[in-house]
């Protein structure tokens, strides 16, 4: 567990994005950008994921899905909001069915703006997330130690 930040597993969920950012997230795992060089594996299983990449704003129906996926992920975990709609709602902000950014439903650690976010900035965001993951992990370990003593 101490080496968590060296091989995190990544989960991607499309809240209500236009596909643009989703495709770029998927693109990051292909040879050109190759996010796997950070030891990351793209998984489909929330129970084994450390990083949640989430795209698009949150609407009435996917709210419960997002909450459920977040609660299924083990601690420590980080959430990266990819794309401007995941950050604030973006162009969809005025729509009747959009509640706003992802942070209206679950806590977000890293915001990656852009419409669509470029793969370079997504990778940048994930690398930031790795640092936060390590900090969370250290804090978690410290709290465990102090509990014992």
């Amino acid at each position: 567990m101490a080496k968590l930040a060296k091989s995190p597993w990544l989960l991607h969920y499309d809240a209500s994005s236009c596909n643009g950012c989703d495709i770029e997230v998927l693109d990051c795992t292909t040879p050109r950008f190759d996010i796997e060089r950070f030891g990351i594996i793209n998984t489909g299983d929330p129970f084994q994921a450390d990083i949640l990449l989430i795209t698009g704003g949150v609407n009435a129906q996917c709210e419960s899905v997002v909450k459920q996926i977040y609660s299924q992920m083990p601690d420590p975990k980080v959430v990266v909001a990819v794309g401007i709609c995941a950050c604030t709602g973006g162009v969809f902000k005025d729509c009747y069915n959009i509640k706003g950014g992802v942070d209206t439903v679950i806590p977000v650690d890293v915001y990656v703006p852009g419409c669509a976010a470029r793969p370079q900035s997504i990778i940048d965001g994930v690398v930031k997330a790795l640092e936060i993951l390590q900090q969370k992990r250290d804090a978690f370990a410290r709290s465990q130690k102090s509990d014992k003593s």
Partner: protein, 359 residues
């Protein structure tokens, strides 16, 4: 009678990049019924026409979907141009055709990759997406964006390509064609891929028409309908024939899409060789008044754009019937009688675009 059970599929599923939910009714391993439920991506973009200026709305309509983005902008602009009687300059029409065909190449390559991924053929997925990067690079060079371009405007396009760029694009299409051949051969002749796709999810010609299938789905069932033949943009000046196949199974759909990539590459080269010089934009005055149904051929099939306006800055109603909306009923039909293990693959063969469907 075997015991019936219900298996939920989605919304978060490894093969689906997008959320869609199906309730599958099973008898042992065989699917007897499938009930789709959608709405995870519904935003209500059609409603925004009431609060956004009709010229500003071009940017919204392009964000209905990140894969079909250029086509949506094109359909909406053409619909308004029809209502307002605006004649688009020929160079702009050609540029639109080139970008539209580039979108088709990128969309079909993306789909091929996802199909390979769903079959577990990881290296083929990587190969397809590696090739797709070449088209994205050209998008980046010509429009400044990889996914969302925002080059359409009512009355023409916002950006021009100079001759050097057009030559470069022509070369790139040659390179892609060369690199695509081995990938296409693998999809069409490799025995594992063939055995996975052959005879799976057969949609007969009559069923395809009655169920309202469009695009490659319809053409793979033997109906030669391609909305590009209506002659919008510069398609009237270019030589091509709709690509069809008779079998109507998953293999036929794959074959049609692969052949369409080659066709699109040839269309891009044809357009580059014929593109006239001149302005790229026609000034537009006044507000739209009237209604029109516009059909265009998106990578996934025919899309219909409807605009109703009554002379104000805001249009009254905008309706977008996307190809996937039409392709979901035939998909449900195909799912009945298939094996549970084939469901992800069958869902994928319609090339679903959920964010288009729900808007």
């Amino acid at each position: 009678m075997a015991k019936r059970s219900i298996v939920p599929f989605g919304p978060q599923h490894p093969v689906l990049p997008e959320p869609v939910h199906l309730d599958l009714v099973l008898e042992d391993e065989v699917v007897v019924d499938a009930v789709p439920s959608i709405g995870f991506v519904h935003r209500g973009l059609e409603k925004l026409v009431e609060t956004k200026d009709f010229k500003e709305y071009v940017y919204i309509v392009e964000r209905v979907c990140g894969i079909c983005s250029f086509g949506h902008g094109l359909g909406y602009c053409q619909c308004l141009e029809q209502i307002m009687n605006v004649q688009v300059p020929p160079r702009a029409a050609y540029l639109r055709t080139i970008w539209m065909e580039m979108s088709r190449v990128h969309s079909h390559l993306l789909w091929l990759g996802l199909l390979a991924d769903a079959m577990g053929f990881e290296s083929l997925f990587m190969e397809s997406w590696r090739l797709r990067e070449k088209i994205l690079d050209m998008f980046d060079a010509t429009t400044g964006g990889r996914i969302i371009f925002s080059v359409n405007c009512i009355g023409g396009v916002l950006k021009d390509m100079d001759n050097g760029m057009l030559m470069r694009l022509s070369e790139v299409t040659q390179e892609i064609e060369q690199d695509l051949r081995p990938i296409a051969d693998t999809f069409l002749w490799e025995s594992t891929v063939r055995s996975r796709l052959h005879g799976l999810g057969i949609l007969k010609k009559e069923d395809a028409i009655l169920a309202g299938a469009v695009g490659p789905m319809l053409r793979a069932s033997g109906v030669a309908y391609d909305a590009r033949k209506l002659g919008y943009a510069a398609y009237n000046d270019l030589e091509f024939e709709p690509i069809t196949s008779e079998e109507g199974d998953s293999y036929a759909r794959c074959e049609v899409r692969i052949k369409e990539i080659f066709q699109s590459l040839s269309l891009i080269r044809q357009a580059i060789s014929k593109i006239p010089n001149g302005p790229i934009q026609e000034p537009v005055k006044g507000n739209p008044n009237g209604e029109h149904f516009m059909r265009i051929e998106q990578p996934r099939g025919e899309a219909i754009y409807y605009v109703k306006a009554s002379g104000g800055r805001f249009i009254d109603r905008f309706r977008l019937r996307t190809p996937t909306t039409s392709n979901i009923p035939p998909m449900v039909q195909m799912l009945k009688g298939c094996q549970l293990a084939d469901v992800p693959l069958l869902v994928l063969t319609i090339d679903p675009c959920i964010s288009c469907t729900e808007r």
